[in-house]
């Protein structure tokens, strides 16, 4: 019984981690066809901004987390304008040499990976140079819950609630708002969407800002629980990446299912064989999943559904 409860908590923890790490990346990848390898560093930025706002400025924790999220979203806007869409360099290029300097990185998977990798190198090292190798930390709030001989951090339980909240919110944004409709139209057929009056470039920019904001939120939420080092994003990036691919083309549902599935495997194997084995199991599962379901879980579900409809007609 106690062990089952342990497993449940571990599962919730893994689930929240995978979902929160992946959400921002999934939205940017799903809509823009850009793989943001600096995603981990966006999370790092959110965590640093939160910690600095809390420790140096003395803001209450929730306000500091809001700061972390907003700072990262604004940074995302800057990155989108300068690197992803090439708006700023091309504006300069038109003024100085009379031509565009670069093409946008939309749907150029390999190039976007390389470019954002360069960005992540700069961010990690930039933070290391300006703020040093580590930072004072916020303590984990909310205390512990005890059961039997064990105790568990209340904050981590709250995190899984927040992860669910993020999923629900993202689902509502994409299905119930005008922005969501535009974004989905842009995914389905960019040219037609533009012909019908959707400002796709603005949709892209907004998407990138939202994705960055979510990364910032993730960083803010995990700021009290992870060690504040410039390279902290690396541990998020891998899980995020894997969850996006395993989840497949349906952004919200895919992230939820991948989070549940990978989180479950991670929790189970960690419980039986230790955390290293848990991480390896998660990664190997992902490799096998990509091999057998290259379109991810939701792609598979869609294919099955399409086939059934054909059979029924």
């Amino acid at each position: 019984m106690i062990n089952g409860l342990n497993l449940l908590f571990q599962f919730l923890d893994s689930f929240a981690f995978v979902v929160l790490a992946a959400a921002g990346l999934a939205i940017i990848f799903g809509i823009m066809g850009v793989i943001n390898l600096a995603h981990g560093e966006f999370i790092m930025l959110g965590a640093y901004a939160t910690t600095l706002a809390s420790v140096r400025l003395g803001l209450p924790l929730v306000a500091a987390m809001l700061v972390g999220m907003v700072v990262t979203a604004l940074f995302g806007l800057l990155v989108e304008r300068v690197i992803i869409s090439g708006w700023a360099p091309n504006w300069l290029g038109q003024r100085l040499v009379g031509r565009d300097l670069m093409e946008p990185l939309y749907d150029r998977l390999a190039d976007s990976m390389v470019a954002t990798w360069g960005l992540s190198l700069i961010m990690v090292q930039g933070v290391r140079i300006t703020l040093g190798n580590s930072l004072d930390q916020i303590g984990t709030p909310l205390g512990n819950i005890a059961y039997g001989g064990f105790s568990y951090s209340m904050y981590r339980v709250v995190l899984s609630g927040v992860a669910l909240g993020v999923l629900v919110l993202a689902y509502l944004v994409f299905t119930r708002t005008e922005f969501g409709m535009r974004a989905r139209a842009t995914i389905q057929d960019e040219d037609t969407a533009r012909a019908l009056g959707v400002d796709t470039e603005r949709t892209y920019a907004a998407t990138f800002v939202i994705g960055s904001g979510l990364a910032g939120l993730t960083g803010a939420l995990y700021a009290p629980t992870v060690t504040m080092v410039p390279g902290l994003g690396g541990s998020f990036l891998v899980e995020a990446f894997v969850a996006v691919v395993v989840g497949g083309p349906s952004v919200v549902l895919g992230t939820a299912l991948a989070g549940g599935f990978l989180g479950g495997i991670n929790a189970l194997v960690s419980n039986l064989l230790g955390t290293t084995a848990g991480r390896i199991a998660l990664l190997v599962t992902a490799i096998v999943m990509i091999r057998f379901l290259p379109d991810g879980i939701t792609g598979f579900v869609e294919r099955v559904r399409a086939r059934r409809q054909e059979g029924g007609a």
Partner: protein, 376 residues
């Protein structure tokens, strides 16, 4: 096909041994098909040959590491630039080969044993690549999913090797050593019994240089051969290549295995160079370096891969200190945004446009430029 082999030739005599050799080395798939290029190539090799006499043994030994990395760059250039498979996992084969060399050479620390370890290490890299490639390509994994599987494989190995600190992770006399790695790998040596040759310092530099020149020329022959054309066809359009009756999966598997062997060679030399290998070779930061080199140099030129690898590593090493990574990152950003094709193809185009007196229109494609048109 023999008539087509010389199609890219420009100004060489049609007969004679030299002409035949050049015919093999030249073609539309490589940059540098002119006498001027080969003259420059000879000068560059000569400069590298006298380099140790100018800067001394210590600097030469340091420089040989950059030459060792060039094999890793070449391996990605072949796999990604020519066959269109972006692999983030070249370091997997690099690291596996390094560890294999370490384990075998520590257990059999005689010249014959180390010669064997050298070969087993390269074979290990190729074998892992073949298994992983078979798993991916024969399972229909394509495009960015290959990239992600290779990236995840790197991280699996990093996670695994980092926890091999205990006594149970000792193979024969060789302890894998967890995070600290294997620090007592012997120098490279060749020979059997009494006739042994231990290779270190300047001798190592020359060995690597000779191997590198041979590999570069060998790969030029390969990419300009019929199989090379199939590779490029796979890169340009996989489905169409299959329609023409080529086995795309087999072609990709072969190229990937070759890439694994090249990365393995690099890994073995790396382990022998520093007498050391650690899980650091599977880190994300190191895994991305080949992508950086090859993107900046120009992914579909072998020359670009070698030049960029040696150049960037030399630069990064000389710069040292905390700003090195910032500079490399900025360089990467600017070059991928401004010159998506890479620096070396851009230089080549600029040079030929200057020589051609502006008579040829600048070509957009990096691979289909016909040298005959340009030189005419």
């Amino acid at each position: 096909m023999a008539t087509e082999t010389g199609a890219g030739r420009t100004d060489s005599e049609p007969s004679g041994l030299l002409g035949r050799v050049r015919g093999r080395l030249e073609g539309p798939n490589t940059i540098g098909n002119s006498r001027a290029y080969w003259a420059g190539f000879a000068v560059a090799v000569a400069a590298l040959l006298v380099y140790p006499y100018i800067v001394g043994a210590y600097q030469a030994s340091r420089f040989s590491l950059f030459l060792v990395y060039a094999f890793l760059g070449l391996s990605l250039s072949v796999v990604w630039g020519y066959a269109g498979v972006l692999s983030f996992g070249q370091v997997v084969f690099f690291g596996v080969a390094g560890y294999t060399f370490g384990v075998v050479s520590v257990n059999f620390a005689t010249p014959a044993g180390i010669t064997g370890a050298f070969l087993v290490g390269i074979g290990g890299g190729a074998l892992v690549a073949a298994v992983l490639g078979y798993f991916m390509f024969y399972g229909g994994v394509r495009d960015v999913y290959v990239t992600i599987i290779t990236l995840v494989s790197t991280l699996v190995l990093h996670t695994f090797m980092a926890q091999t600190a205990g006594d149970q992770w000792t193979i024969g006399e060789a302890a894998l050593g967890g995070f600290n790695g294997m620090p007592t790998i012997p120098n490279l040596a060749f020979g059997v019994g009494g006739a042994a040759l231990v290779i270190s310092d300047v001798m190592f530099y020359y060995l690597v240089l000779v191997l590198l020149v041979a590999t570069y020329l060998g790969l030029r022959v390969l990419v300009n051969s019929d199989f090379g054309r199939v590779m490029v066809a796979v890169r340009e359009d996989e489905d169409r290549t299959r329609m023409f009756g080529y086995d795309v999966r087999r072609a990709k598997l072969l190229v990937f295995t070759l890439g694994g062997a090249l990365a393995g060679l690099s890994g073995v030399l790396y382990a022998a160079w520093g007498n050391y290998v650690s899980p650091g070779v599977f880190e994300l930061a190191f895994a991305s370096l080949p992508v950086v080199w090859v993107s900046i140099g120009g992914r579909d030129t072998l020359l670009g891969a070698v030049a960029a690898t040696v150049g960037i590593e030399f630069f990064r090493n000389s710069l040292g200190g905390e700003w090195a990574f910032v500079t490399v990152g900025a360089l990467l950003l600017v070059s991928i945004l401004g010159l998506p094709g890479g620096v070396v193809p851009w230089l080549d185009r600029t040079y030929r446009n200057l020589r051609g007196g502006g008579t040829t229109p600048p070509t957009e494609t990096t691979d289909s430029t016909d040298p005959e048109v340009t030189e005419a």
